[in-house]
């Protein structure tokens, strides 16, 4: 077993993490993660972005508890179009007497759902296509990249529209539609990273051990692409939210009475001049969340720089 010198003085946790003589896989991994966290947290704006996203997640989890009213049932009789600051309705009500605050809080779940599902579907597809394409080269690369180009050629919203129009409106179809248009840039990024990594000595060394191409791509090349991909996906989140909002705005995403933020803006459009809050509040929510993801993505880019020198 490891014959390390026994620590006579117990190390603080920080020392243990920063130690340049890790004693176990776990210590090595945690140490590395800690260094990444240090680089990330040095950027205050990035931390602010992270807080916004964590807040979003918490709100989504606890929406039931936090929301003062029901998001779907409104007081048609006595509480239509009340301005913000009215008694019991912090952000006002919409034309169906529903509390906007409660709708926003519950709508965060839909926003989160869209983001997570799109990321889970699009990122792995993009990573796989890009890495295989970059490593294989030749006709495999050509074919996969032409397919990627085809999907890239369509403006996101237009392709999503076509898909939803064909499959019918609804949030599930909207998610699929957005995912289909989101993966091509990830494939491009993965391919670019793969191309730069493919000719390095450490990949040659693994080939010289007799590793199959699958093993090489999966276990040696893809880990090098992951950092750039994480950054890109995070920065894309803002765009995904807006696309979902756009679809919702056009009535093709979430259907009423779901409190999806884009749909809320659409239905509040009619009253924008006199009852500005109905459309503006969800708009501000979208703005804040998009900003949060942008800041987080920027921070991650600096922290996850693959060219870590360990200095």
């Amino acid at each position: 077993m490891s014959q390390s010198s026994l620590q006579t003085v117990p190390m603080t946790r920080r020392e243990w993490l920063m130690s340049d003589r890790p004693q176990s896989r776990l210590q090595a991994r945690l140490g590395r993660a800690y260094m990444t966290w240090q680089r990330f947290s040095a950027n205050k704006l990035a931390v602010a972005g992270l807080c916004i996203i964590l807040l979003l997640i918490l709100i989504a989890i606890f929406a039931d508890v936090l929301a003062p009213h029901s998001p779907v049932i409104g007081n048609l009789g006595g509480a239509r179009l009340l301005p913000p600051g009215s008694e019991g309705y912090l952000l006002g009500t919409d034309d169906q007497g529903r509390d906007i605050l409660s709708r926003l809080l519950h709508g965060s779940r839909l926003t989160l759902l869209v983001i997570v599902l799109v990321a889970i579907i699009a990122a792995p597809i993009g990573l796989l296509v890009g890495a295989v394409s970059g490593y294989a080269g030749g006709w495999v690369d050509a074919v996969l990249m032409r397919i990627t180009d085809i999907f890239l050629a369509f403006p996101k919203l237009v392709l999503a529209l076509a898909f939803v129009a064909a499959m019918g409106p609804g949030i599930e179809n909207a998610i699929l539609a957005i995912a289909i248009t989101s993966w091509p840039p990830y494939a491009r990024i993965a391919r670019a990273e793969t191309l730069s990594v493919r000719n390095s000595d450490y990949i040659a060394a693994v080939r010289l051990m007799g590793a199959s191409p699958f093993r090489i791509v999966l276990r040696h090349v893809m880990p090098m692409c992951v950092s750039s991909l994480i950054v890109r996906v995070t920065l894309d989140m803002a765009g995904i939210i807006l696309t979902a909002a756009g679809l919702g705005f056009l009535g093709l995403g979430a259907q009423p009475p779901l409190p999806e933020w884009g749909a809320m803006i659409a239905s509040g459009r009619r009253f924008i001049l006199d009852q500005w809050w109905v459309a503006t509040m969800p708009g501000i929510a979208i703005l804040i969340v998009s900003l949060g993801f942008n800041l987080l993505g920027d921070g991650l880019r600096d922290a996850l720089d693959p060219r870590e020198s360990g200095q």
């Binding site: 920063m18 240090q38 680089r39 040095a42 200095q311």
Partner: protein
């Protein structure tokens, strides 16, 4: 021999997230119109010493010295304008790999002319003529053709000679050469060193030759300084290398296999922690 350059207690340190890295920790030497070699391995601080003299230390690093004088000018307190006017015209530097130190999008001739016209007021025609003369002085045949070539179109040896031409055209008094031949093949190395030898002698320049190769430096220079962990561990005349006193210098001399010596196993440097103190 008058002193051209005085360095006294030079210190260069780099602040990093994990603490302060002291690259150079109190280096002192003087230089007249002679050749001084600075030898060390990676991390010894030799390159940073050369850069500090040129004023090319990265902005976030801290440079301090009790004296850093070139011909009476205090290099530490001199304004940026003065330092710029010194660089190229009075102090020049040659770097290791012409692939990275020459501008890839400009022709060689244009780069040489640019150096010249930055420091002297000469017309285009005259500048071109002088540049071609300089290329011939570094033994590039067909200088007129090479004038129009780009760095990637010439071999490593030729690129390095072009760099020497570029750096010497304004007639500097002091030349700092940072591993000038390490990226070259061994036969080309000798050619380039021969050219450097001739030019430095002809022009009576002072030379600081920075390298990891102790034998090469001692064959080229008059005096040698050996650096380890940011400090000077030994200073001696090049001809006196056989009498090196410090164990690091002795170790460095003996550790490389040379043609004809038959030592199995090779003597290994036994690093003592006291050397870094």
């Amino acid at each position: 021999m008058s002193t051209m350059l005085t360095v006294d207690d030079l210190r260069v340190s780099f602040p990093t997230r994990t603490g302060l890295i002291e690259a150079v920790r109190g280096v002192s030497f003087t230089l007249g119109r002679e050749r001084l070699g600075i030898v060390g391995e990676s991390g010894s601080g030799k390159s940073q010493t050369g850069r500090a003299i040129m004023g090319l230390t990265p902005a976030h690093a801290k440079v301090s010295a009790s004296k850093l004088n070139f011909d009476g000018i205090d290099l530490l307190t001199a304004p940026a304008k003065v330092r710029r006017s010194l660089r190229g015209s009075r102090i020049a530097m040659i770097l290791q790999d012409p692939k990275y130190s020459l501008n890839p999008v400009m022709s060689i001739g244009r780069q040489i002319v640019e150096t010249l016209r930055t420091h002297e007021n000469v017309g285009k025609r005259e500048a071109r003529d002088r540049a071609i003369a300089m290329l011939e002085a570094v033994q590039i045949r067909d200088a007129g053709r090479v004038y129009d070539l780009h760095p990637h179109e010439v071999s490593g040896g030729m690129g390095q000679r072009a760099m020497i031409a570029m750096m010497l055209i304004a007639g500097p008094e002091l030349l700092v050469a940072d591993e000038p031949t390490s990226a070259l093949d061994v036969t080309v190395q000798l050619e380039v060193l021969g050219i450097l030898d001739k030019l430095v002698s002809e022009r009576g320049m002072g030379l600081i030759f920075i390298s990891h190769d102790l034998r090469l430096v001692s064959s080229f220079c008059d005096r040698v300084i050996v650096m380890y962990a940011g400090k000077i561990v030994e200073e001696l005349a090049a001809s006196d290398l056989g009498n090196a006193k410090h164990p690091y210098t002795q170790g460095l001399l003996n550790c490389m296999p040379t043609l004809g010596t038959n030592r199995h196993p090779l003597p290994v440097l036994d690093r003592q922690p006291e050397w870094a103190l």
